[in-house]
């Protein structure tokens, strides 16, 4: 089973969540990344996601496998959108099930952080002003050390685990 995949349509979190269910899991944590309307002072109208899918799936799968080795969780899965997304749409979903909540939170955080830094996915922001730009590629062309220092692009929402 692969633990990382892309989709060109809206992420179906209900069916993704079902893939994590198991009788030994006492809880489930998920993260959703949403397209936000503002980045670095510019009004964002739309994001375009593009991925080098062949390698991205391998690297994403390695990240989830790494999370499952580090933290004693039951199942973990990450789904990423590609294509054109409008403000409010979900760009990425991470879900983790485990016996206890602590490791599920840790693994979920680990996966989203690593995915953002390691998986070959790019996004182009389209602004209200009519401008557009590839995030981390254009404004930073002269300052490579700031490669990963950009602001997050979504509101973060973490679902609470079942009480057990």
């Amino acid at each position: 089973m692969t633990h990382f995949r892309f989709t060109e349509s809206a992420i179906d979190t209900q069916s993704a969540r079902r893939e994590l269910q198991t009788s030994s899991a006492g809880g489930y944590v998920s993260f959703e990344g949403w397209v936000r309307d503002l980045n670095e002072g510019q009004e964002v109208t739309r994001l375009e996601y593009e991925a080098f899918q062949e390698l991205a799936v391998k690297e994403g799968d390695r990240i989830v496998a790494e999370a499952m080795r580090r933290f004693p969780v039951k199942h973990a899965l990450c789904i990423h959108r590609v294509g054109s997304l409008s403000v409010g749409e979900m760009a990425v979903w991470v879900g983790v099930s485990s016996a206890h909540r602590g490791e599920a939170f840790d693994a979920c955080r680990f996966i989203i952080d690593e995915v953002k830094h390691r998986v070959p996915i790019w996004k182009k922001e389209h602004y209200r002003s009519g401008d557009s730009g590839w995030v981390n590629c254009e404004r930073c062309a002269a300052a490579p050390q700031h490669e990963h220092a950009h602001a997050e692009h979504h509101h973060d929402r973490v679902a609470l685990p079942n009480s057990k």
């Binding site: 080098f52 390698l55 953002k116 490579p144 990963h148």
Partner: protein
Amino acid sequence: MSEFLPPVYALILAGGLSRRMNRDKAGLKYQGKTQLDRAFELASRHVRNVFVSVRADQALDPARAQRPMIVDSAAGEGPIAGIRSALAAHPKVAWLVLACDLPYLSDAALDFLLRRRDATALATAYTSAHDGLPEPLCAVWEPAAAAALADYQAGGGQCPRKFLIRHGARLLEPQDTRALDNVNTPEEYRQAVATLDSVAPMQLKIQYYALMREQAGRSEEMLETSASTPAGLYEELVARYGFTLSRDQLKVAVNSEFSDWSRKLNVGDAVVFIPPVAGG
């Protein structure tokens, strides 16, 4: 620390008249290019400022005059005069000194030498695969070598190899034992031509994503290249498409797996340059 490292320029030595070859070695051709042009282009893929070392009487030679030159100013003859003249012309610069008659010298071999350069030594040089002695004409000479070379010549020395042996250069064993073979006789020249012709430029598949896709104006292409590593290939593509991202901002993948910049490319490899990622 690295910000104090002297920058590296390259000096192509093409001054020598070849007695055994019975003709001007700089004009010998491989794959349709003179070895002076090949050496110059090879060095230019690794170092921004490249000069050809010439004797005063060669400064008007049309084969040489179209390139930036350093005309021998230092006393003496042969390579030591060329090296000293370059060090004198740009005293704060280290010099990648290359003989032009090394037809097998590759991007990978130069990349390896430059990466392992030790600026605290007077020079960083490859050792010969045949006798283990330093190769002064495929080496990085540091600015501090200038004074030591002057003393050495004042004491009657003329041989840069003996100089490196005496002064303890930082030595590197070549990865490819043939990389430093030079060509001195018509027979060696015939062999080198045949060998290099059998390694025809290869076809690679390049895929472009995101900013680089837009700058290249395409998402993939089949490309004939003589670059042997992703590093060399990227230099070629920067020249062609004017990519704005520098190599240290990128990662590279070969056949859908992350790769080293100095990996040797093979026919049919699929190469992807990976700009700074922004998932999530």
